[in-house]
């Protein structure tokens, strides 16, 4: 079964065409046979009447009768059956005697073989050649009688039927195709508005709803059900957001107090070992607080609100600034940081793009060792900017390429380093918030991460929509 509307339309059109063709063939066959039978019937009746005349009055009387019949047939009576009037004549005859000599009958044809013949070629009185159906019966006492009728009516009937059915075929095909295309348009139109709304909702606009036309028909019912589902999801999302930000807030306050107390204790500690342990405890508390703020930041980025702050920003500026901030740290670690960038602008949030770069540079610094080269490059691709950060460090396993962007994803060999695996998740969230995407490019050496961001003009028009 075709699943697409186009396939379905084609299928229905083909099916109705096939049915019309079959119907046409069946009708043709039936009508054709029926007309042939009727012609045969008339020939039979005529032949029987002539045979009866011969039986009663003899051969000479039959010859006279046939001559009389021929004389009364007008030259216009070409198609025998059609032109048959109430006298029931308009047939062609041949009468031969026992020696096979033609004695009467004007049928301009050779004597057909005995019995029924379906196709007997003859010349009509005006000289045109045609086909006739004929019977050749023996006469008692020698000789033969041939009675023939023109088949032109069968061909005419066939032609009429053919024209009729071709017309009907074309009409049904046209009407059916138009109906299916119209229905398809209607369905596709409704589906594409639903699709558009769904895409906007997935992009973060949870307040968007499916459009209704007020008809309360199938599509409206579907849209209403989807809308009530969306209402429910939005309510749940809001609850969840409220709960998680409440939790984060509620946990941060006591953690903050704990941190304060530790700080206080550190300030009054007299023993160096005590001070060291308290400082370590403060660092742990800071890590936890950092985790909370990262979670809150990611939730904020994933929400719709960040888009309202988007403006045109110079991507190369942000990259240069951020790289410059990291350069001393890279050099200290024995690594090099190179840029291969061109001036280009995107529509976005400066601070988020900066944070995205910082997370990537933090990551490259933390997971590679001295001697590694890290390169940031940009490239314009149609209406997108590809921002790539590549290193020639140890890289990651093929199976981890998707996983590293997930929340709390930490690869086995990085367990020893600090962090909660939120850095690249935030990178992915930032890319998504800008209408872009992030992925790992498979390379032979090291790790290459590519971020695609829409260029300024496109995402502005998107935001306006």
């Amino acid at each position: 079964m075709p699943r697409s509307i186009r396939g379905l339309s084609l299928g229905v059109a083909m099916m109705s065409g096939l049915i019309i063709t079959l119907l046409g063939l069946a009708t043709y066959r039936f009508v054709h046979e029926e007309i042939e039978c009727q012609i045969n019937q008339r020939i039979r009746i005529e032949a029987d009447a002539l045979l009866a005349h011969h039986k009663r009055h003899g051969f000479a009387a039959l010859v006279d009768l046939v001559n009389t019949l021929d004389r009364h047939a007008t030259p216009e009576d070409l198609s025998y059956l059609e032109g048959a009037d109430s006298k029931g004549r308009s047939m062609g005859y041949i009468v031969t005697d026992a020696s096979g000599r033609r004695r009467a009958g004007s049928l301009a044809a050779n004597v057909p073989p005995p019995g029924w013949s379906e196709f007997v070629p003859f010349h009509s009185p005006d000289g045109a050649s045609a086909m006739a159906q004929a019977i050749n019966t023996p006469l008692p006492g020698g000789g033969r009688l041939v009675v023939a009728a023109d088949r032109a009516v069968v061909d005419q009937m066939d032609l009429k039927l053919l024209v009729l059915f071709l017309g009907a075929f074309a009409l049904i095909l046209a009407v059916g195709t138009a109906a299916v295309i119209g229905l398809g348009r209607l369905v596709r139109g409704r589906l594409s508005t639903i699709e558009g709304s769904a895409a906007a909702i997935m992009a973060g606009d949870l307040s968007r709803r499916m459009p209704l036309d007020g008809s309360a028909e199938e599509f409206d019912r579907l849209a209403m059900i989807l809308n009530s589902m969306l209402d429910r999801i939005q309510t749940l999302m809001n609850n969840l957001k409220q709960v998680s930000s409440d939790i984060a807030h509620d946990l941060r306050t006591p953690l903050n107090r704990l941190r304060g107390r530790l700080e206080e204790a550190e300030g009054t500690a007299t023993e160096p070992i005590q001070r060291e342990r308290l400082a370590a405890a403060i660092r742990e508390a800071d890590d936890l607080l950092d985790l909370f703020s990262s979670i809150l930041a990611i939730s904020e980025i994933e929400g719709q609100t960040v888009r309202s702050r988007f403006q045109t920003v110079a991507l190369h500026d942000i990259i240069e600034e951020t790289a410059e901030a990291f350069r001393p740290a890279y050099e200290q670690a024995g690594m090099s940081l190179m840029l291969a960038i061109a001036p280009m602008t995107i529509s976005g949030d400066r601070q988020l793009i900066q944070r995205c770069l910082v997370n990537l540079l933090d990551n490259a610094l933390a997971h590679t060792s001295a001697g590694t080269d890290v390169t940031i490059s940009t490239e314009a691709r149609d209406d997108q900017v590809a921002l790539t950060i590549a290193d020639n460090g140890p890289g990651i396993a093929d199976g981890d390429r998707e996983r590293i962007f997930q929340r709390f994803a930490r690869l086995d060999h990085s367990r020893s380093t600090s962090g909660y695996g939120l850095g690249l998740n935030m990178v992915a969230a930032i890319a998504a918030a800008h209408g872009g995407s992030v992925r790992v490019i498979p390379t032979a050496v090291g790790l290459t991460i590519e971020i695609l961001l829409p260029t300024a003009s496109k995402s502005t028009s998107k935001a306006l929509r």
Partner: protein
């Protein structure tokens, strides 16, 4: 300094106030915005510290009302939310600084000191001097004991922050915010690595370190070299 603290979490409020008093400041605490609004105009405060989320009148609205009355006392907003938008809202409402909870106590003190001594003429200063280091902001020239020192732009900005806040601790977070415009803390020690470059340039040929590292809080330049 006379400091007004509006904070609805009484435990935090008490802890902060105690710490500030120990440093010799006068502190008045209020648990809600409405009460604070009444005392601010005639209070003669040097600095206002306002929690953003308060029951009743919140810190942001309070600050807007205070500013609408024409009061220009420097104000610092405290918030548990690190949302970037919150930051912008706070600064637009008239806050002079913005501190995200959790914060280290030293961070708060460093920022309050910077706020309290901020004088209107600060903006037009063209020459900064402390601890034998002079900085000409117009010519972007730095000298230590008359020897010219060549600095990269960020190193210059770092030193400028330290000189503007001479004798006061400048924290890492303040530097990240003011020199690099980072509203968050990268895992990489950006401040430390730049500071070590600045130090090596400043100290080359001098026996003593021009910049003091204050353990656990930040950096400082003393106005009179020890």
């Amino acid at each position: 300094m006379k400091i007004l603290l509006v904070e609805d979490d009484l435990e935090s409020s008490a802890y902060v106030a105690r710490g500030l008093r120990e440093l010799g400041h006068q502190v008045q605490c209020f648990p809600d915005g409405q009460q604070a609004l009444g005392v601010i105009p005639a209070g003669g405060f040097d600095v206002l510290v306002l929690d953003r989320m308060l029951s009743g009148l919140d810190g942001l609205s309070l600050l807007r009302m205070v500013r609408a009355q024409g009061c220009q006392t420097p104000a610092m907003l405290l918030t548990a939310k690190s949302a970037i938008e919150d930051r912008v809202d706070g600064l637009e409402a008239g806050a002079d600084d913005y501190l995200v909870k959790p914060f280290a106590f030293v961070e708060l003190v460093a920022r309050l000191n910077a706020l309290g001594r901020r004088s209107p003429s600060c903006a037009t200063v063209t020459l900064l001097e402390a601890g034998g280091i002079s900085m000409n902001l117009l010519r972007r020239e730095v000298r230590r004991d008359h020897r010219v020192i060549d600095l990269q732009p960020r190193e210059f900005n770092l030193l400028e922050q330290l000189l503007r806040n001479a004798d006061r601790v400048v924290t890492r977070t303040m530097l990240l915010d003011r020199v690099w415009n980072f509203g968050f803390d990268p895992k990489t020690n950006i401040v430390e690595t730049h500071m070590s470059r600045l130090r090596s340039k400043l100290n080359e040929g001098f026996p003593d370190d021009a910049i003091r590292t204050v353990r656990g809080s930040g950096y400082m330049i003393a106005s009179h070299a020890p």
